[in-house]
Amino acid sequence: MKELFGKLSKDFHEIVNNKQLLRTATEKFLNNLIDDLTLGVIFDIHRKAKTRAFDLDGEGDGVEVEKGMDIEIFSQYNIKKTQDCVCPYCDRAVAATRFATHLVKCMLDGKSRQKNAARKVTVNNSSKEQENSYRDSGVSDNEDDADWRPGDKRRKKKKDRNGKKRSKGTPKKLLTQSIWTH
């Protein structure tokens, strides 16, 4: 082991003492380092191009930068790219810094929210249907019954209320119709 280090130190001492040799060696070494760094950049850009991380087909993005517009364009472009994360639960775009907290809340409240959303949707649908049924007054109760689903208590209640109203309302309209026809 000591022999090896002795040889290495001797070799190194020879290189350092010979100024011209040192100059050429450092130059080659520096060129190697530069090549390594370019390789890193090339791999990075190639991967980005393959995964379409930036739009190379889009007009002007690369060209604009070549014309001497500032590099800020890049940074802004990247910031916009990275800062929006789409939440897998609610499909909203959330800033990357707030994404973790949002995800926690969204996952915890996800089930209850989904239930609420489903309820809202059903309520809205039912109210729209009711409006429609009011508009075309000729619709009989039997047709509404076709949409009736077992287990939806809210709908059932609303239907009952409306049924009473309709029972009062329809005969009048029928009466007027009968008057006009006569």
Binding site: D11, F12, T26, D35, I42, L56, D57
Partner: protein
């Protein structure tokens, strides 16, 4: 063994490789060399035939010579001087002192 690999071996033995690579990297980034290389890469990709992304080998053959010439002379001289200083310092303080 080539000269540059000898230098990297000696630096490795003396725990100086990380320091040197970091020095070169930061200096090149400071002078905007990396952004220039990136631009050259993107240019090479956009100018490629059939509008397909060229392979890594093709990119290396086109970009590497350009990247070498893109390093500003002043920066290169400065880095060479600093590298020489580091090597001389290693020789002065004693080879493989930390072992």
């Amino acid at each position: 063994m080539s000269l540059e690999s000898k230098i990297s071996l000696h630096l490795d033995v003396n725990n100086g490789m990380d320091r040197v690579t970091e020095l070169v990297q930061t200096r090149l980034i400071e002078c905007g060399w990396r952004d220039q290389v990136r631009l050259a890469c993107r240019k090479a990709i956009t100018e490629s035939k059939d509008k397909q992304v060229p392979t890594v080998d093709e990119l290396i053959t086109t970009v590497t010579p350009r990247a070498r010439s893109m390093v500003p002379d002043s920066v290169k001289r400065e880095l060479l001087h600093e590298l020489e200083m580091i090597l001389v310092n290693v020789d002065r303080t004693g080879y493989a002192k930390h072992f």
